[in-house]
Assembly symmetry: D2
Homo-oligomer: 333 residues x 4
């Protein structure tokens, strides 16, 4: 029973149906009827005109955006535990042509206006030090915490004051929406977010993520950068169809709610072991090595997250028996 | 009726079935059971140990390979009409960090040992000129011509003599195999090819291509570069399953044969209009603007390929009526 | 007797004096009194406000400018024989992050509006082909020809019409001014040139070249790029002092006149052997291998420039005996 | 009276003499007689065969070396306060094509084997995290501390054990030699250092630094990278002559001794204010804002180094009156 990653989960059946339905002759690349409906569908969802680009990974979405928001000779501010820093193999350096990541501290991988200001204040304003150009945050964070709209807005304000572009890695944004109940618009463009990596694969998609540009004037550059990075698939309709299914069938929110609920079920089983509050679909627990072994023997897979800590991630499809058995096993430790 | 590109064709039903069959919980990235079978399946196919990496585009396959074969400060020799030069938005420059493409001439986009030698001889052996490191050819070429095994071998020999690594863009390699009847091994590693972009999407795949390393010691670097370029999909099993289906069901060769046969049918309809011999699934015809209009009015889509020239591409699924109607329409011009 | 390159010539004594005069305590990098006078001195010279950056090589001047004028995913149009294409080891690819050079033809390494238009027309306006962003020309050209102001202006107009930025490699611009008698302003910013690599080292300098920005809003970016490329010397005063001496003592024009006059003296000795008209300080001659050997035995050094061709370059300090002996030796062949 | 930086000091008169003596016709680039003597002169100095490349900045020396020692997809370990991290405008990212700097802690900007091991242990050995390839240290450090030979050797051992290449930024290596009295060889190649940026400009040079390759097989790549980065000056003899003068006249060590002695003179004036022991030519003092103002009013220039801290740097030419006045002024605070 895998609680290793939401990437391990299967795709939702309706996503597969949408792929099958798109399996007919159409224009190559992104000239097909599904791809052409993306801008409209996401503009409706966000309540503002956006440009929407399918890509196949969150790394591609993040780094295409960062390359457009940060010249090679400037810096991106992000949390020390941000995915772009620790889990993308240096992709930001590759896509931007060598821009620097300046690392911020903060509990639960959350960035605060204070940490942004402190980092900026440490950078001498001269030609010898790399000047910041962009702020990137992750919602929900890598530790499963969420930003409320007011928090994003406060970060948007400091970004504006400091002359920084503002990117959001939303690999699990749906989980943050499901958790906070706050509108997508408030969590993103109304709070000053310029570009958003909107995740679907962890949330029931097969292999389509979406890069959303609230700053629509970046679209031409992103289109070229996507092609140049080998991310313009020749049969894009199979990606677009997945995204449309996720939106039209409300899967994006329903799936996130299901995953969050599963995480709550686990959290309730071991309230004293929680390292962070469980706000999305990740659970970080204090568990000794011996206890971890016991869980593994019982058939559960998960990540060791440093000494005495484990990470469990729930998925859209995890309900019922396996979940209950996990909850019981943890409660029984 | 689309004869615009083989990218416009649908995926083969068995490919879709394979995706559906892979739709269950498994390890993320490329740790799943399908991905782990790729090396073996392709080693069997080629009759030599290879490392096989799924990617989603030919551009990614080509440019990941080129980045591993050519340092940023050296050059790649390729034909002036090569896909990497004219249709990948400068991706080789991006992936390699600025390596140079040195352009060779040759009828039908074919490279010859003489053209390689001539290009190398023009480069002064000093620090001011960019020294060549790599040779890249496309089989079948961008004009639908094929290299025979002996031709590839002659190029492999000049590459070796000149100290060049040897890459093959095989977006339509299956069509070349189907056309020449020569064994895959003879067309590739036995002829000295170091890395191969093996195309499946134009040939009935959905969105999985394969980068084959005959020089298996490059595998670690390629694995990192793939991740760093955002090309390590989180649910890789859906790509691996496509490739396995293409091999195990013999689709890769059957589909190419079908597409080639369709192209022959068109070619036979207008032998005097052919600009190049039709050896794979592309047909280049001398057709006046007026005649082209007539074909379009009759419902056929294709590319204008310069004044008085059109390109038609046939696909694995084009048989029967549409094809006959096209042949008749061309014959009737 | 070296007629190999104007880089082989010594520095002018007044340049050495200026260096010695600057040899005292001052602020590091470019905060010293000499560096701070550069903008003013060059603004006076050009008759318009400019920003002037010392660098130590023409390659650095060219490629810093090109990096600011061309994003990594676009192209620079230049002549097939341009220094940036054939003699800078791929530096444009390095500085720009992989931008492409699109090569134009034209006699004597000269670019024409027609060749620019033709190159642009060949590029499909889509995401698959690299779109042009910048035009770069060299005055005097790599074959010692000069552009008149009207010619530069015509190129400036086509650049504007095509939406291209306009860079001039002026490694031997002083020779072009001396040859044509046309004002610096007419040859550069009044003709639409955005950035200029203004050469001094071939013209009697020691190791200071100057990057001139007519588009002064690029100054901040250039300052950062210069530092980031390791081209912000810690004791910049020794470079600035050289440039000021070249301007204030009128060396820049006097030296170029002397070198041009020397070239004319050689050209007159062999009018029928000239491959190109001698308009600056380079002489390309038809000379057989045997004749070339004879010149070398007589003590003259020069470049073989392909079969039956040699290149001689005269310098600011070549007058008198060596020159007369060369002229006689050539006349006597 | 400037104690701002050793970059503010003039060049040594013998360096100027050497430049003047090189001011005659010779081969361009690095084909001249001075440049050709560099390998031999530095091989003699180090007691082992080396390849020596002149460059004009420490940033160029550091980053050319790092680009040869670290592929774009791997990481360089260095101290959090290393010059390559805080004062080179992101040049390592530019030269390497996006390699990552992993930052180590340690008092006085010193790296220890423990900090290297700790940093390596934190990096998961998978494709998602950037794997380390290179260790870089600075001797003397950015805080004026020195590594003894045994310390460098211990770092060389951990580098070897971890499979890391080993680079030394020796902008003030001469000061470290003068301070420790340890042989150059013991401080560098015998301790496992692969490449060294050997600083001369801060130490009485005019604008020549030297990149030393103990791993001589890197020479061809470095030669190309130097050209490609615009760092192959066309009249290299003026750089080579400076370096030869620094070696042949023993200036490199004499000047460092003089600067170190000057620093000791200042240190003795305020032993209780020292933040770090003064081991080279930099003095970090606890000085209140008011006290700092007083020193400035008295005519002394220096850096504010955070609240309540100042940095003073002494140079090869600072003896006598100014120094005594500074010592007295500090003692009198």
């Amino acid at each position: 029973m895998r609680f290793f990653s939401d990437n391990a989960a299967p795709a939702h059946p309706k996503v597969l149906e949408a792929i099958a339905a798109a399996n007919r002759l159409d224009t190559a690349y992104d000239g097909d009827e599904w791809s052409e409906r993306l801008d409209g569908a996401f503009s409706d969802l966000f309540g503002t005109p956006v440009r929407a680009f399918w890509v196949t990974t969150g790394t591609a979405a993040n780094c295409l955006a960062l390359a457009a928001l940060c010249p090679p000779y400037r810096a991106i501010l992000c949390h020390r535990d941000a995915h772009i820093e620790v889990d993308e193999a240096g992709a930001p350096g590759f896509f931007t042509g060598g821009a620097k990541l300046v690392l911020l501290d903060g509990a639960g991988a959350k960035v605060t206006p204070e940490s942004v200001d402190a980092a900026c204040d440490l950078i001498r304003d001269d030609v010898h030090q790399v000047q910041p150009a962009t702020l990137s945050i992750t919602n929900a964070t890598e530790y499963g915490l969420t930003y409320r709209a007011a928090e994003v807005q406060a970060l948007g304000e400091v970004a504006k004051r400091r002359g920084l572009m503002f990117h959001m890695d939303g690999a699990r944004l749906a989980n943050a929406v499901a958790s906070t109940g706050e509108p997508l618009a408030e969590l993103t463009w109304r709070a000053g977010v310029d570009t958003l990596s909107f995740g679907f694969v962890k949330n029931g998609g097969l292999n389509a993520e979406c890069l959303i540009l609230f700053r629509t004037e970046l679209a031409d550059e992103i289109a070229v950068r996507r092609k140049r990075a080998g991310h313009l698939l020749s049969k894009g309709r199979y990606l677009a169809a997945q995204l449309l299914a996720m939106l039209e069938e409300h899967l994006w929110l329903d799936n996130a709610r299901a995953a969050n609920a599963a995480a709550q079920r686990v959290a309730e089983a071991a309230p004293r072991r929680l390292i962070y509050p469980v706000e999305a679909n990740e659970i970080f627990l204090k568990v000794s090595g011996e206890e971890a072994d016991k869980l593994r023997v019982a058939g559960f897979d998960f990540y060791d997250w440093g000494p005495g800590q484990i990470r469990l991630v729930t998925s859209w499809d995890q309900q019922g028996e396996a979940l209950e058995r996990l909850a019981s096993a943890i409660a029984a430790l």
